[in-house]
């Protein structure tokens, strides 16, 4: 899949989701008690779940919430990585060794395990919005090491370039050098890092949600919607139960293609 095709498909999906939420008469939390586990009808296009909530609306909302959260978390993690990577590249040797050891430590520990621990240790009384924000913040806080390493390597190679030496000889301070010369040169590195993080965070949220540690109900999320697959009564009634998993796979496929296309560009 080409980069432009992936971008157009993603945009279409986002627009379609927005449209579904706009035209729907009920919100994602509305429970139609007369249509519990209903198959596809004109009112509920892809049926309802065990609480009578419209599956199309919930899938559309999960898509938007997931993408927004993952993109925000990816932006935060890229910013943290950029700061730490630059700090490691421009600080004394002992400080960079320490920072790199910290990133290696994070890198070498299993990601999902760390996420699971950090997420589960939060208050049990948190509201759905708080759980969503916390989940994505935890993802952002733990996702920086690989990105920081790449930025560190990029910044180190730029640091020893001739034009940097010239800048230093002209009297530019380290802060000015970073702002004027290093950051613009690192932009082509930062964008692919950001794009790689988005699908990774979506997968992590889905895995956490499937363990009951993701975004809290009634707010829809990929992970929470995957839990529907455990309900055999629901599976026997409608094939639309598989909609979230199919949609998630499609979104991830598009995002992976987009990130790969951007990295090769």
């Amino acid at each position: 899949m080409k980069r432009h095709t992936a971008a157009v498909l993603l945009l279409l999906l986002v627009l379609a989701s927005g449209l579904v939420l706009r035209v729907s008469r009920h919100g994602y939390a509305f429970q139609d008690r007369d249509a519990i586990m209903a198959p596809a009808t004109t009112e509920h296009w892809t049926g309802t779940d065990e609480l009578g909530r419209d599956r199309t609306v919930r899938a559309a909302a999960a898509l938007l919430i997931g993408l927004t959260g993952a993109a925000a978390a990816a932006a935060i993690t890229t910013a943290i990585a950029a700061c730490l990577g630059l700090l490691a590249a421009f600080s004394p040797a002992w400080a960079s060794v320490l920072l790199l050891f910290l990133s290696d430590g994070f890198l070498s520990l299993p990601w999902l395990f760390l996420l699971m621990m950090a997420r589960s240790l939060l208050p049990l009384t948190a509201s759905p919005l708080e759980t969503a924000v916390t989940t994505f913040l935890v993802l952002a806080a733990l996702g920086w090491p690989a990105c920081a390493r790449a930025i560190y390597r990029g910044a180190r190679s730029l640091r020893s370039s001739e034009w940097m030496l010239q800048g230093r000889a002209c009297g530019l301070k380290t802060g000015q050098l970073i702002r004027l010369h290093i950051v613009p040169h690192l932009r082509p590195l930062l964008l692919p890092q950001f794009l790689v993080c988005v699908p990774a965070f979506l997968v992590a949220e889905a895995n956490l949600g499937a363990l009951g540690l993701g975004v809290g109900e009634p707010m829809p999320s990929w992970g929470a919607m995957l839990l529907e697959l455990d309900n055999s009564a629901l599976l026997a009634r409608s094939d639309w139960v598989y909609l979230p998993i199919a949609l998630l796979a499609l979104v991830l496929l598009i995002l992976e293609s987009f990130a790969e296309g951007e990295a090769h560009a």
Binding site: G105, W111, F113, A206, A210, L211, S257
Partner: protein, 285 residues
Amino acid sequence: MNLPRAIAMRVGRGLLLMLFAATGTILLVRFAPGFFADSREMDARYAQAARAEMEVESGRQQSVVQIARQEAKGWLAGDFGQSRQYGVPVAELIGARARVSALLLAQGILRGWLLAVCAALPISALRRGGLLWSLPFTLLLAIPASAMATACILADAGSPALVLSLLIAAREFKFLRSLLEEAWRAPHLLQGRAGGLAPLALVRMHMAPNIAPQLRALATLSIVTALGALVPIEVIFTVPGVGQLAWSAVMNRDLPVLVAVSLLMALVVALAGMLSTHDRTLEAA
């Protein structure tokens, strides 16, 4: 750098990593809201004296240093402390489960690598259509481990090892393909091809020795990936392994079990990291 120093540095790095994991776990759990909450307090069967004893026990866990000291005592005693949830030594809990998880990890990683190598070798040599042949792996990459495990249970087919191997295969195929594509383009391989060397001989004599260090580094990453995927797979398939124990410990804030599992994972990763860089250390020395 001489060899003993290089080895000492590797070991030191591994130990520091474990210390980092233990400290991080203790800090995370100690400062988590509700750490001092104990479900036994709600149980009417406990007498006043028992409650007072529980309070004293909980008071001992106020400071991080005290918790660390208790954990260290448990480790020195060889039982890794007492599980808060099950009331048995942690070593007893982990011992039996570690074997189950190790077997699952070994099966998953070996099968995953076999699948990835068997697919990546011919696909990377193709001049056209490589993207189309890679599509199944790209699709697998787009399915979270938990969803894959649930799908297997629904279809009443597959096993935890299959899910783990598919996950590893999808991840490693991506890296292997680009690594092999680059290797096929190397001038000496082109010359070997032009000279009429059979593809298998080319791979065995020229390609494999050149990409071996990268493959070892990739293998280390496979272990980390597999350890991460172990939790959802074991929980969904109800496999009595370390991943399931970790999940249960997280849900019940069982600190001794959490610290032991974190250290076990850090140890596995540190050992794998040491092995993957061992040859390079020897070469450099």
